[in-house]
């Protein structure tokens, strides 16, 4: 039997077509040596485990933070003990004046500090602390203390009532919860549109009840916020006032960011809607005019995306990256060879194409992409997706950090409220003891041998004074330390995010290289073709991977 020319012709045609269509990326000879090298690169990069570097840095940070927190507590306790010692030894709680050197010139003559009684010295100790929280320190602490205590109690009951209302509403409206009550974003008089829409969707039969529940919840929220504002207004002293200022500033920053992000998201979605209209027109009829409209629409999407990425800091970036990840997924799902499957090309895919076509990486072939002539290369698509997934995770974590910051600042403000209440309690107890009769001039007799009517309020006063350090003071110190630690953690987050982006730009190409070098025309395939051509029968299955 003569060798058949049919086999040779088929092989030759195949080679020509593959070279023409796929270029060198499609056809190449399999190289076992290079495949081994590519696999080695993949394995060594996996072994490098670059994320572990950040993990160790986090462990170091956590250990140092724990030590710093413990030390901050100890500093507060030491201050308490030194003040107790001053009280017990009838010394002043105020910082001592620098002493004159024994062998130096004598200090200029001046008025000698008047001798004070125990009650006066002790009141001086309390007021010295209280002055950092309330300024000026009230002559009579009782009305201020009563008002603050009432506010705090009403706040607690208000918070419990709101939590009840929200739980009840979630049950009635099938999981839809009422919006959170925050000072930064007061609730509008009527239920917001998105809330009503959510209820209409989840519990259409209960829409009629929304107004009643919302109205009740809003009234509780207003009362709560009024009390909250009054509580914060007490903090007129330098330390408490600064803590309130920081808290209010952080809340405002977060609220402004949310609003800015919401507005920019709206504009971005509008730009994409305009794009899908233009893309549809181009799909229906290809013309210069239609192409121009698509280009303009894509410019609009690019501008809106840039604005969204900057809006509200991390909030806008989170929205934008999430949308790009979803779009990349939608395109991958609609891929068929190097084009998009017309059967899977719906409104969602069209929008996804608009999102991707607005990215710099796909800008050159944007029109072809829109016309569905050519889909983006899978490798480029996957790389883009990985990068945006990393950015989305980074932005989401920054949002969480911003919320943590607000939460810690609130914690610090509430600890200041506790400290104020404790010091006002100390003042109240001292006033009661003095009202029961004149106290001895020194601490020992005042605390040890006075009447019960004097000693009981006095000891309660001293306990409150000590608690203002041991409990509230340490809580303030811990919150402050955690706020500092949070900034270190944010810095570590940024480094970790950068490492993740680096990982994406290395891992994805390595995978593509492994895939490339693992494929190729193997000698067995050629042998099989030759055998077929020579009429010796197929000696092996095709091994073109």
């Amino acid at each position: 039997m003569l060798p058949s020319t049919r086999g040779w012709t088929t092989l030759a045609r195949g080679v020509v077509v593959m070279v023409a269509l796929g270029g060198c990326a499609g056809l190449h000879l399999y190289d076992a040596e290079r495949e081994k090298v590519a696999q080695g690169a993949k394995k060594s990069f996996e072994t490098a485990n670059v994320s572990a570097v950040i993990a160790v840095a986090r462990q170091n940070h956590a250990a140092l933070t724990e030590t710093e927190m413990a030390q901050a507590r100890r500093v507060v306790e030491l201050r308490r003990d030194l003040l107790l010692q001053a009280i017990a030894t009838d010394a002043s709680c105020l910082p001592p004046r620098p002493a004159a050197p024994v062998d130096g010139p004598s200090p200029p003559p001046g008025p000698v500090a008047p001798a004070t009684t125990f009650a006066e010295r002790y009141r001086g100790c309390i007021d010295h602390e209280l002055g950092r929280l309330i300024s000026p320190v009230p002559a009579d602490a009782r009305p201020v203390r009563a008002a603050l205590f009432r506010n705090v109690e009403e706040l607690k009951s208000g918070a419990a009532a709101m939590a009840d209302e929200r739980t009840k509403s979630a049950l009635i409206f099938n999981g839809v919860t009422l919006p959170a009550c925050t000072a930064a974003a007061p609730l509008p008089p009527a239920p917001p549109n998105d809330l009503e829409a959510a209820v209409r969707k989840a519990a259409p039969g209960s829409v009629g009840q929304l107004g009643v529940h919302y109205g009740q919840y809003r009234r509780t929220c207003e009362r709560y916020l009024q009390k909250f504002g009054a509580m914060l207004a007490v903090g007129t002293g330098s330390e408490f006032g600064a803590a309130v200022g920081d808290f209010q500033q952080a809340v405002k920053a977060l609220t402004d960011a949310r609003n800015a992000s919401a507005v920019a998201t709206h504009v971005y979605n509008d730009a994409l809607t305009a794009y899908t209209g233009a893309a549809k027109a181009l799909e229906a009829k290809d013309s210069e005019e239609a192409r121009k409209r698509v280009e303009e629409a894509l410019d609009g999407v690019r501008a809106a995306a840039e604005a969204l990425g900057k809006a509200g800091g991390m909030l806008g970036q989170r929205e934008l990256s999430a949308d790009r990840v979803e779009s990349a997924d939608a395109i991958v799902a609609a891929l068929k060879g190097d084009a998009l499957d017309p059967k899977k090309y719906g409104e969602e895919t069209r929008r996804a194409v608009g999102v991707l076509a607005s990215l710099p990486r796909f800008a050159d072939g944007a029109i072809d992409l829109v016309r569905r002539r050519k889909a983006p290369l899978l490798g480029a698509l996957l790389l883009e997706k990985e990068l945006h997934a990393a950015r989305q995770a980074a932005a989401a974590r920054q949002v969480v950090r911003a919320e943590e910051r607000v939460s810690l600042q609130l914690q610090r403000v509430l600890a200041y409220v506790d400290r104020t209440l404790a010091l006002l309690d100390a003042r109240r107890g001292l006033a009661e003891a003095v009202a029961a009769g004149a106290l001895p001039d020194t601490a020992g007799p005042a605390l040890g041998s006075g009447s019960a009517a004097q000693r009981i309020p006095l000891l309660l006063s001293l306990t409150a004074f000590m608690d203002s350090f041991s409990l509230a003071g340490t809580a303030i110190a811990e919150a402050e330390q955690q706020l500092i630690a949070l900034e270190y953690a944010v810095a570590l987050d940024r480094s970790e995010d950068a490492v993740k982006e680096w990982e994406a730009v290395i891992t994805v190409p390595i995978d593509r290289l492994v895939a490339f070098y693992g494929s190729g025309l193997k000698s067995e395939a050629v042998a099989a073709a030759l055998a077929q051509a020579l009429g010796l029968g197929l000696i092996g299955a095709g091994t073109l991977k």
Binding site: T5, W8, T9, L11, A12, V15, V19, G23, C24, A25, L27, H28, L29, D31, V50, V53, A57, N60, L64, T67, E68, Q71, R74, V75, L78, R80, D81, L82, L84, Q85, A88, T89, D90, G444, L447, G448, L459, L462, T463, M466, D467, F469, S470, L471, Y488, S495, A498, V499, W502, E503, V505, I506, P509, I510, R512, L513, F516, L521, V526, A533
Partner: protein
């Protein structure tokens, strides 16, 4: 044979020009540069972290020194007062300090008791487990059933069905033949047995 020569030429081209195509080597080159850049950045990060940690350790140590010195100073003052016979302020201080420590202990005990109650109540609650995997498999199976068979599928089904039918018929025929054979053999045996019985009768 001309076609064979064309194929060899094309394969030769592929072997020489596309063994390591430019886009691929370019990708490898850029990725190698990126890997090297990552290495440098991680080294810089590591140095910065060491500096930050060192600075924090220094601050903690300095503060610790101040704390210990202040505590020692406090102890010295109390000791000196005791030594010169002024015991009352020292005792007052110790009493107050004990009260402060006791107050902290009570607050911690209250906090722990609340946490314990919460834990105890939470422990009575069983976690709801959603049979997600089973429901997913059910949905997948139903989704497959919801798709109508294609023409090719129908043909395959019909072919398979009638193949089965054919085989069943064949098997039934086989079984019937075997049964008939058995029946004939049994009838022969019975006849033989009967003859034998008659012959042996006196």
């Amino acid at each position: 044979m001309r076609a064979a020569r064309v194929a060899f030429v094309m394969l030769g081209l592929a072997a020489s020009g596309c063994a390591a195509p430019k886009p691929v080597t370019g990708l490898a080159e850029v990725t190698a540069q990126n890997t090297s850049a990552l290495q440098s950045q991680l080294a810089a990060f590591s140095r910065r972290q060491a500096e930050i940690s060192g600075s924090r350790v220094r601050i903690v140590t300095d503060l610790q020194r101040s704390l210990l010195e202040a505590e020692a100073q406090r102890e010295r003052e109390i000791d000196i007062r005791r030594e010169v016979g002024i015991n009352e302020p020292a005792q007052t201080y110790e009493r107050l300090r004990r009260r402060a420590t006791e107050s902290v202990r009570q607050a911690a005990a209250t906090r722990d008791a609340i946490a314990e109650t919460r834990r105890a109540v939470e422990d009575t609650q069983h976690k709801l487990t959603v049979p997600a995997e089973a429901l997913l498999q059910t949905a997948k199976a139903l989704s497959t059933l919801s798709e109508a068979l294609s023409f090719k599928g129908h043909l395959e089904l019909l072919f398979s069905f009638f193949s089965d039918v054919g085989e069943d018929v064949k098997k039934a025929q086989e079984d019937a033949r075997k049964a008939a054979g058995h029946a004939d053999a049994k009838a022969d045996q019975n006849a033989k047995d009967a003859e034998a019985t008659v012959a042996t009768k006196p």
